[in-house]
Every structure is written in structure tokens, then in C-alpha cells.
């Protein structure tokens, strides 16, 4: 075996190294030094992320099972950025009384899932893809159950586990249909073999595959686990689930649909996705309006955001890919800012209800300010990053030039207005209802502050610094080969 093939995967190897370092630190260092594990992980991961910026090189290895392109580099870099913020945010929680004993597990599981996501993005063979998918799913169930003291945490983990297993089963069933059709599990072979053909089997296979990945993205109607799991899981895990896990699934989704089923684009999945997007955005919005628990609220908001992300997939072009990556990046920052505020308040007071946030501006103006920016960005109000990401994703979708997609964008726009209503509900609670402040003034922990500053700056700057979008657009246009079956 040619071991130099491993050199094609510098990011995976680097992440593995980080994982091993954390593991060794956790296992062999004396109890006293253990408390610095969080900082150690953050620093090592930060170094790894920086090193990532300089990595490059395209190519395939393991006889085409694995592929690295400039787009996959960019995708993994975006995940890393989000992961880093999650790690910083979680520091306070990981060192709290009940969690501190199992701090190591938390970080190791988290890093293991990230490795799975890397593989999902780069896999070009369904076997490898499934390995990645499961590596990304199973440790997450353990993470969801991390709060042993809370009954909800167990319930959420059980729900997550069962639905994940169920969706995996459906996904595998879909894969077996695909194999029956194409006689191979290599992405390229399948794409070539199914070209031109159109059968009921292909459609069923496609639906099952979409449902398997759509489950991770919480697309409607595969979304029902989302709210319960988000609510029950520890906030650090919820933010990870809502951002990193979802981003990785979105990337993998685009890769599969474009590279495997590209030739069936206009014949099949464009319309399936069309329906799913309309359902997802609308249903997510409708549920979000009624939520009072902020974690549930963000769960539904993230469902509807997933619908917007899918607009980048339906575009099926380099422009769509670039706007999708940009959207995920902005979404990472905006959502993590919101979760950062929620986690800070939850860690201090245990309150997660929207009514508890009344008058937050009076007692904790900076937290309220960050939360406001996060809400504005999620709602897509200029000049914050969310506006630009929505703008680009709409432009990307409109680039297909078909009338149906214009209608889709119009529906998405109307939903943006609806979403504005519930995002502003939070802002209204914090700023206008000043009479009753339940949450006392408190000092935010240093790590949480750092994370909030990073995310807030990101919200303000990512949209304005056009070099970021240009970078992503370049990465996308360098990887335009993946859309060869669509055109």
C-alpha cells in the first residue's frame, strides 16, 4: 500500500493529531493539570485552524474514494472556525462542577464527530461516506446525553439515537437501490451509469438518500427530532449541533446531489428539493413564532435557515456553491453569537425562557447588544453579515434563470419577512419591556466574552469584507468540475 496517499488528507491528519494530543493530555497528566485541558484544547485547535489556512493541493487518493479540492478545503476551514468558537464558548461550562470530571470525554467526542464530518465532505465512495456519517452521528448521541443529572438530556439523547438509526437505515436502503441501479458505490461511476435513465427505482433511491442527509440538516419532514434534542441537550452541544453538524451536512448534501445525481438534476431532485425547501422554510417559521423557550426557538429558526441553505444547493452551480459556503459561514457566526448569549445566561441563572429576557438591556447591555446583532443578522437586516449571505444565496439561486426558481426565491423572501417578526420578538423583549428584569446584572466569564467578541465582530465584518466572499467564490470556481453532470 502506498502510504503517501495519506498526505492527500492533511486536514484529517491534523485533526487526528489534535485529537490524540487532547487524549494524551487527558489520560496521562496529573489531576492538578487537568483543569487546563480546556485552554489546551482551544489553543491546539486554534493553531490547527490557522495551519489550515495555508493548506492546499487538489487530488484524489485511495483509488478515488477520497477527494480533496479547493472547495473541500474551504468547507473544512469554515467548520474549523465554527468549532473553535464552540470550544471557546464551552470552556466555562466544561469546567463547571458536574461536567469537570468528564471534561476530557466532551472534547474527544466533539473532535471525533468533526473528523467524521471531514470524511463526509471528502468521501467519493458511499462506503467511506457512511463511515463518516456514522462517526459524526454516534458520538453526538453521547454528547446530547452529557448532562447526566437532567432527565431531559437523556430523553433527547434517546430520541436522537432512535431517529438517527432509523434515518440511517432508510439511507442504507436508498444506497442499496442505488447499487442496484448503477452497480457501483463510487460517486463518479454512479453518475456515469445512471445518466439518461429515469426509473421509479431511481426516484425512490434519491428520496431515501435525501432523507438520510436531510435528517442531519433537519429538513422538513425529517426535522421532528430537532426541537426536542436542542432543548434537552446541554447548550454547548446544541450550538454544535445547530451549526457545525448542520453545516457539514449541507456541504455533503451538495456534493452528493451534484456529483452523484447531477444528471438527474432537472429530471428529479430539483423538484423534490423545491418542495422540501418551501416546506422547510415555511414550517420552520410557523413553529418558531410560537416558541417561548429560546433553545426551541432557535431550533425552529435553524430549521428555516436550513431551507435557505438549500437554495444554494438547488442552484446547482459554482455561484450556488460559493453562496452556500458563505451562507454557512455567516450562519455559524450569527447562530453562535445567539447561543453564546443563551449559554452565558443559562450558566449563570439557568433561565432560557424568552420572558426572562425582558429588560435584559437594562441589566446586561452588552449581552443584549450581541443578541440583537445575532437576531438582526439571522433575520438578514443590512448592513450585517446575514443580509449579504441572504443576498448572495438569492442571487445564486436566481442565477439558474428558471421562472420556478424565481418563484421559490419570492417565497423565501416572504418567509424572511415572517422570520423578521419572531427575531424581533426577542429584541423587543430585551429592549422595550424594561419594567421587569428577572436576570440580574452579572459578569460574563472571560472565555464566553472572547467567543462573543469574535462572533459579534464576525457579524459586523464578514459581510463588509468582500475578500471573504471572493475567496470562497474562487474556491468554488476552482471546483466547478463537480457540476459537470448538471450542465
Amino acid at each position: 500500500m502506498d502510504y503517501s496517499q495519506f498526505l492527500m488528507m492533511p486536514q484529517e491528519l491534523g485533526l487526528l493529531l489534535v485529537f490524540l494530543l487532547v487524549f494524551l493530555f487527558d489520560t496521562f497528566l496529573p489531576k492538578k493539570a487537568q483543569s487546563s485541558l480546556s485552554i489546551f484544547t482551544c489553543v491546539v485547535f486554534a493553531l490547527f485552524t490557522i495551519a489550515n489556512v495555508f493548506m492546499a493541493g487538489n487530488g484524489t487518493s485511495f483509488s478515488g474514494m477520497y477527494e480533496q479540492t479547493s472547495a473541500t478545503y474551504a468547507m473544512k476551514l469554515i467548520l474549523n472556525a465554527g468549532m473553535l468558537i464552540v470550544l471557546i464558548q464551552a470552556t466555562k461550562w466544561a469546567n463547571s462542577e458536574f461536567v469537570a470530571v468528564r471534561r476530557g470525554e466532551f472534547y474527544e467526542l466533539l473532535l471525533a464527530t468533526l473528523l467524521g464530518m471531514y470524511i463526509m465532505i471528502s468521501a467519493r465512495h458511499f462506503l467511506l461516506f457512511v463511515i463518516g456519517l456514522e462517526t459524526a452521528s454516534l458520538p453526538l448521541a453521547a454528547l446530547v446525553a452529557f448532562d447526566k443529572k437532567h432527565y431531559e438530556s437523556h430523553e433527547a439523547a434517546a430520541k436522537y439515537m432512535f431517529t438517527a438509526v432509523f434515518s440511517s437505515a432508510i439511507f442504507m436502503l436508498g444506497l442499496s437501490f442505488v447499487y442496484a441501479l448503477a452497480g457501483s458505490l463510487y460517486f463518479n461511476d454512479i453518475a456515469v451509469n445512471i445518466m439518461g435513465g429515469q426509473s421509479a427505482l431511481l426516484i425512490v433511491a434519491l428520496v431515501f438518500v435525501i432523507s438520510g442527509v436531510g435528517f442531519k440538516l433537519s429538513l422538513v419532514p425529517f426535522h421532528l427530532w430537532t426541537a426536542d434534542v436542542y432543548q434537552g441537550a446541554p447548550t454547548a452541544v446544541t450550538s454544535y449541533l445547530s451549526v457545525i453538524s448542520k453545516g457539514a451536512a449541507a456541504f455533503a448534501f451538495l456534493v452528493i446531489l451534484a456529483q452523484v445525481f447531477g444528471s438527474a438534476y432537472s429530471a428529479a431532485w430539483e423538484w423534490m428539493l423545491y418542495a422540501v425547501i418551501v416546506l422547510t422554510i415555511t414550517v420552520g417559521n410557523l413553529f418558531a413564532i410560537r416558541q417561548r423557550d429560546l433553545k426551541r426557538f432557535l431550533a425552529f429558526s435553524s430549521i428555516s435557515q436550513a431551507g435557505y441553505i438549500m437554495l444554494g444547493v438547488i442552484a446547482g452551480s459554482e455561484v450556488g456553491l460559493a453562496s452556500l459556503m458563505f451562507y454557512v459561514l455567516v450562519y455559524v457566526f450569527s447562530n453562535l453569537a445567539a447561543f453564546g448569549v443563551i449559554a452565558a445566561i443559562e450558566n449563570k441563572t439557568g433561565k432560557v425562557n424568552m420572558d426572562d429576557y425582558n429588560g435584559l438591556f437594562k441589566t446586561n447591555p452588552w449581552l443584549a447588544f450581541s443578541m440583537m446583532l445575532a437576531m438582526f443578522s439571522l433575520a438578514g437586516i443590512p448592513p450585517f453579515a446575514g443580509f449579504f449571505s441572504k443576498f448572495f444565496i438569492f442571487v445564486g439561486a436566481c442565477h439558474t434563470g428558471s421562472v420556478a426558481i424565481y418563484v421559490l426565491v419570492l417565497i423565501a423572501l416572504i418567509n424572511t419577512i415572517i422570520s423578521l417578526y419572531y427575531y424581533l420578538l426577542v429584541v423587543k423583549a430585551m429592549f422595550i419591556k424594561q419594567d421587569e428584569c428577572v436576570i440580574p446584572t452579572f459578569k460574563v466569564a472571560c472565555s464566553e466574552k472572547v467567543a462573543l467578541i469574535i462572533t459579534t465582530l464576525g457579524i459586523i465584518l464578514i459581510g463588509l469584507a468582500s475578500c471573504i466572499y471572493t475567496y470562497l467564490a474562487e474556491a468554488a470556481s476552482n471546483s466547478s468540475a463537480m457540476f459537470m453532470f448538471i450542465h
Binding site: 434517546a158 430520541k159 432512535f162 431517529t163 432509523f166 434515518s167 432508510i170 429515469q198 426509473s199 421509479a200 426516484i203 425512490v204 434519491l206 428520496v207 431515501f208 435525501i210 432523507s211 435528517f215 422538513v220 419532514p221 425529517f222 421532528l224 427530532w225 426541537a227 426536542d228 429530471a267 428529479a268 423538484w271 423534490m272 418542495a275 422540501v276 414550517v283 417559521n285 410557523l286 413553529f287 413564532i289 410560537r290 455561484v319 442565477h399 416572504i414 415572517i418 417578526y421 468582500s466 471572493t470 467564490a473
Partner: protein, 638 residues
């Protein structure tokens, strides 16, 4: 050569804001001067792009189309660089003294609650303004210019409304903002038309590279004029709004509610000339669209006269200066309007820029004098002043220098630039020349009226109301006055014509002795008349005002322009247009939106039960959903 401008904006620190702001601006001044002088010394007057980065790339949509941000140096932007940094620096310096006390004068009783942190806020705004103004003059493309154009408008708005507890200031700032915004609409439309045809925002490409697109625009006609003509006129409307040209001038006199140093910086020296700068920047295009140049000339010439007439009948010293500013800017605009390459090698262009430069110096000087006087006398009304030359000799001399300069007396700066303008005007058409000469005479008259009323006339009893007798303003305030007076005396001798011309080639303009002599004589007549009427207290002015009562009142009330605007906006536009729209908005739009909201709400309530919390139903819905999609797809696609 050009380390650069920008980051000196955000100095919001506490007590040291003033010092820090001034030092920052000082550094900026040095850099600006170095850049400008290196540029002029380099010998070549071709424009250079120091920096040009793509900000938003539209090449996916239209080939080579993008919005850039950058720094553009050519003779006029280098000149503006000097003007902006100099005046801004001096005003920062001056404000350290002025703002200190200004609160106490106006808001002594509510300094605690009302204008708290005023000092830092003031310097932050001032720096923001300077930053935007530099961005405007150094813009590489018309879109960047537009961005900074709006930023300048915002900072002007903030500074006019600086005393936000005073309703008059609030009104004035709103008026300024709305009027200029309204004009900017024209600017934006102009930009859009222009870029639609030429596919670029870039100044260089606009001026040199796209002659075919320009000739298309010229060939395409719309409502009797070429499209180019429309575009350029629309852009000029934007410039006219900023530069307070009739009929969009109404905001500038009211803008005097802001602190006086702000008036000096923004409403005399820099921002208001942005319109002139804009026209000068796009001058080659205006040359092609001759129709809009005629519009410009007419508007400029009329405004010059109109504002001068009003200035003769005002009593608030800052208002007099404001109308004088309008009139002088109108001079510059007219000068651009009459400039043609065939007359004296386009001397009007050079004259306009020259006058812009000199006017910035002496008008800032006059405003700062006014500030110093107000600082000591605690009033804007010229009726409460008089005889001040005894108490404030330096201010008096500075004011005299400024007045001589604006009247166009040798050897002060205004003489040179104003004569060039008159030369250009005569060259174009004798009628314009005579008209402008008359306005120049009026200028001399009203400026000396101001000077005498403030510093001579009769001495009121300053100590009557328990005030102290006025004395010279503190050093930080007098120093800028001295610097500016000296500058006013010497800058007229700068060899401007060697550097600033529309085609970047030195101009060989000789002096036209008839113009020089006639204009000096006219100015002297104006001064003489003012001396007779206002040097000592007497009742001649009152008699004269009585004799021409109607005219006097009309001029004093600014020819009722404000009332006319109020009538048009309130009685006509609000009643006939806004009312029906408001009704439509409430009944139809809101109704539709409410319907959406109600439907959303109901739907949200109805589907709530799907989220039951039981995992069996989740999985069930998952499966049914997937199969439903598959079935529907099969029915539709196969």
C-alpha cells in the same frame, strides 16, 4: 508618499478626545501635505491611482464590472487634500477653545442632563466628517464618491443637530438632511444612467476609455435632450443640493444652528464645495453635454445674485456669512459653467478651483472670526455688537483681511481667483461678465456692512447686563485666525494655472487689465458705499430700508423661499399625494399584511400537534413524508 488617511476616525476616548483628535488631524495634515506636494513636485500631472482594490465584484454578472475602493490623486484631488486637511486641522484646534465654553453659553443650565459627553461626541463627529470628506475627494470611482457623499451628509446632519436639546437645531438638521437627500436622489439617478450605458463607475474609464458609449448616450435622445445631458444634469442636481444652489439652498442658512467651527469647516470650506468638486471631476463629460453646462451657468449666476441680495438684508452675522457662502459657491459653479476649451484655454475651470481654494481659506477665517465674536458677545445678532475693534483687535484685523479678500482687493487671495472667474465669464459672454461683476460689487458691499456693524458702528453697553466686557478669544482660537489671515494674504500668488487645468497642461493666461481695473473699482464702490452707510452709527441705513421697504423685507425674509417650500410640501404634496397614499398604506397594504399575519398565526396554531414529542409519531411522519415525496415525484416526473 502616501501612507494614508483613514483610521483617525474612531477616537472616542474620554477627556483627551480633543487633544487626540487634533493630534490625529495634525498627523493627517502632514501626510496629506506630503502626498499632495510630492504629487505636484513629481512634475507629471497625469492622474494616478494610489490604491484600487475591488470591493464588490460583479464580473459574474457583467464582464469587468465591479465596485472598487481606492485613492485617486490628480491635481484637483491633491488640492482638495490640502484644503480639507488644513481647514480641518485648524478647526479642530479652534474647537478645543470654542466648545469648551459653548455648552455653558447655550446650555449652562442643563449641561448636566442634556448635552452630556458633548465634547467627545463633537470630536468624534468632526473626525468622522473629515474622514468622509477625504474619502470623497480621493474616490477613484463615482460609486465610492457617492458612498462618502452620503457619509458626509450624515456627519453634517449630526453636527448641525449637535445641540440636540434645541428645537431650532433639530429642525435645521432635519431640513439639511432631507434637502440634500432629495438632491442626492438626482445624483443616484445620474450615476445609474451613466453606469448603465458605460458599464463602469471608474472616473478614468468614464473620462477617457468609453467614448463609444458616451457618443451612444449623446445620440440617444430622451424628451428632447440627449441621455448624457440628462445624466449629467441629474448628477449636477446632487451637487447643487450639497452646494446649496438655488432652489435647493434653503438648508444652508439654517445649518448655522450648529456650532460655529462646524459652520466654518463644513458649511463654508469643505462639504458645500463638494458639488463644485463633483462637476469639476466630471468636467470632460460636461464639456460633451453642453446643455447641462448651460443649466449650470444659469443656476450659478442666478444663485450668486440672489444670495448676495439676501445677504445685504440679514442681521444675524452667521446668516450673512451663510448667504455669502452660497453666493461665492455660485461663483465657482458659474465659472465652471462658462468654461470652454476655446476661451482662454478653459480658464474657467482653473478659476473655479482656484476660487474654491482661496474661498476655503478666507471664508473659514471669517467664520472663525464670527465664532470668536460670538464666543465673547454671546449672541449672533449684529445689533448686539459694534465697536469691537477696540476689544478684539486681532479678530478685527482677521475679519478685515477676510473681507478684503472676498471683495477682491489686491493683493488678497480673492482678488486673483475672482478676477480669473470674471475673465472666464467675459470670455464666454459679456452679459455673464457684467452680471458677475455686479454681484462682486454687492459682495464687497455686504461684507463690509458686516465688518462695520460688528467692529465699528456704535458701541452698545456690554457691561449693562452683568456681562464682562468682551476681550480677545483664547490663544487656541486666535492662532487659527492668524494662520488663516496670513494664508489669505499670500496664497493668491500661488502659480495655480501651472497645475490645475482640465486637461492637465499648464495654462498660459495673461492678466486682463480691463477686468482687473473694473472689478477693483466696482469692489471699491461697494466698500465705499458700505463705509458711508455703516462706519458710524447713523440713520441712513434705516431711511434707505424704509425707502425700499418692500424689497428690504423680501430680502430679509429670504424672498419667502422657505414659506413657499412649506406651502408646497405641506399644503400640496402632503394633502394631495401623501394622504391618499397613507390611506392606501393603512387600508390595503396593512390589511394585506395583517391577513398574512393572521393566516400565519392560524397555520402555526394548526400544525402545532405534529410536534407531539412522541418518537413513534416522529418516525412515522418521517417515513410518510419521504414516501409522499417519492410518490408525488413519480407521478409528476415519469
Amino acid at each position: 508618499m502616501f501612507l494614508f488617511l483613514g483610521l483617525m476616525t474612531t477616537k472616542l476616548s474620554k477627556k483627551v478626545a480633543g487633544t487626540l483628535g487634533t493630534i490625529g488631524l495634525g498627523a493627517c495634515l502632514v501626510i496629506g501635505y506630503t502626498a499632495a506636494l510630492t504629487y505636484f513636485a513629481s512634475g507629471s500631472l497625469e492622474p494616478i491611482k494610489v490604491l484600487d482594490t475591488v470591493w464588490i465584484d460583479f464580473s459574474q454578472i457583467a464582464e469587468g464590472f465591479s465596485i472598487n475602493l481606492g485613492i485617486y490623486l490628480d491635481p484637483i484631488s491633491a488640492m482638495m487634500l490640502i484644503v480639507v486637511t488644513t481647514i480641518s486641522f485648524l478647526v479642530h484646534l479652534y474647537s478645543n477653545g470654542y466648545m469648551d465654553d459653548a455648552h455653558l453659553i447655550k446650555y449652562g443650565h442643563e449641561a448636566e442632563g442634556g448635552v452630556k459627553h458633548g465634547f467627545q461626541r463633537y470630536f468624534a463627529f468632526l473626525s468622522l466628517f473629515t474622514f468622509s470628506m477625504l474619502g470623497l475627494v480621493l474616490a477613484t470611482n463615482i460609486f465610492q464618491m457617492y458612498i462618502f457623499w452620503e457619509l458626509v451628509g450624515v456627519s453634517s446632519y449630526l453636527l448641525i443637530g449637535f445641540y440636540y436639546t434645541d428645537p431650532a437645531a433639530i429642525h435645521a438638521s432635519k431640513k439639511a438632511f432631507i434637502t440634500t437627500r432629495f438632491a442626492d436622489l438626482g445624483f443616484l439617478i445620474g450615476i445609474l444612467i451613466l453606469s448603465y450605458y458605460t458599464q463602469t463607475f471608474d472616473f478614468d474609464t468614464l473620462i477617457n476609455g468609453s467614448s463609444s458609449a458616451i457618443s451612444t448616450m449623446q445620440g440617444t435622445s430622451f424628451l428632447g435632450c440627449s441621455v448624457l445631458c440628462w445624466a449629467m444634469t441629474c448628477i449636477f442636481i446632487g451637487g447643487a443640493g450639497k452646494s446649496a444652489m438655488f432652489p435647493l439652498h434653503i438648508w444652508l442658512p439654517d445649518a448655522m444652528e450648529g456650532p460655529t467651527p462646524v459652520s466654518a469647516l463644513i458649511h463654508a470650506a469643505t462639504m458645500v464645495v463638494a458639488g463644485v468638486y463633483l462637476v469639476a471631476r466630471l468636467f470632460p463629460l460636461y464639456l460633451i453635454a453642453e446643455g447641462s453646462l448651460i443649466v449650470i451657468t444659469v443656476v450659478g449666476a442666478f444663485t450668486a445674485f440672489y444670495a448676495a441680495a439676501i445677504a445685504c438684508a440679514q442681521t444675524d452675522i452667521k446668516r450673512i456669512l451663510a448667504f455669502s457662502t452660497i453666493s461665492q459657491i455660485a461663483f465657482m459653479i458659474t465659472s465652471l459653467g462658462v468654461a470652454r476649451p476655446e476661451y482662454h484655454e478653459g480658464v474657467g475651470y482653473m478659476a473655479s478651483m482656484f476660487h474654491l481654494f482661496t474661498h476655503a481659506m478666507f471664508k473659514a477665517c471669517l467664520f472663525l472670526v464670527a465664532g470668536a465674536v460670538i464666543y465673547r458677545v454671546h449672541s449672533n445678532e449684529s445689533g448686539k455688537m459694534g465697536g469691537l475693534h477696540k476689544y478684539m483687535p486681532i479678530a478685527s484685523i482677521a475679519c478685515l483681511v477676510g473681507c478684503l479678500a472676498i471683495s477682491g482687493i489686491f493683493p488678497f487671495a480673492g482678488f486673483f481667483s475672482k478676477d480669473e472667474i470674471l475673465v472666464a465669464a467675459y470670455a464666454n459672454n459679456t452679459l455673464w461678465g457684467l452680471w458677475m461683476s455686479m454681484v462682486a460689487g454687492m459682495t464687497a458691499f455686504y461684507m463690509f456692512r458686516l465688518y462695520y456693524l460688528v467692529f465699528w458702528w456704535d458701541k452698545p453697553d456690554y457691561e449693562a447686563h452683568g456681562h464682562h466686557a468682551p476681550k480677545e478669544a483664547p490663544m487656541v482660537m486666535t492662532l487659527p485666525l492668524i494662520i488663516l489671515s496670513v494664508a489669505t494674504c499670500v496664497i493668491g500668488f500661488l502659480p495655480f494655472s501651472d497645475y490645475i487645468t482640465y486637461n492637465h497642461e499648464p495654462l498660459h493666461a495673461g492678466h486682463d487689465w480691463t477686468v482687473i481695473i473694473s472689478s477693483t473699482v466696482i469692489a471699491l464702490i461697494g466698500i465705499g458705499l458700505a463705509t458711508v452707510l455703516y462706519f458710524k452709527k447713523n440713520d441712513k441705513p434705516a431711511k434707505m430700508a424704509n425707502a425700499a421697504r418692500g424689497l428690504w423685507t423680501a430680502a430679509n425674509k429670504r424672498f419667502y423661499m422657505d414659506e413657499l417650500y412649506m406651502f408646497i410640501t405641506h399644503n400640496i404634496i402632503f394633502q394631495t399625494i401623501c394622504r391618499p397614499i397613507a390611506w392606501f398604506d393603512r387600508a390595503i397594504i396593512d390589511g394585506t399584511m395583517n391577513m398574512f399575519a393572521n393566516i400565519t398565526n392560524a397555520a402555526s396554531y394548526a400544525i402545532r400537534k405534529f410536534q407531539s414529542g412522541s418518537i413513534q409519531s416522529y418516525v412515522w411522519i418521517y417515513l410518510v413524508g419521504a414516501l409522499a415525496i417519492a410518490v408525488v415525484s413519480m407521478l409528476c416526473l415519469i
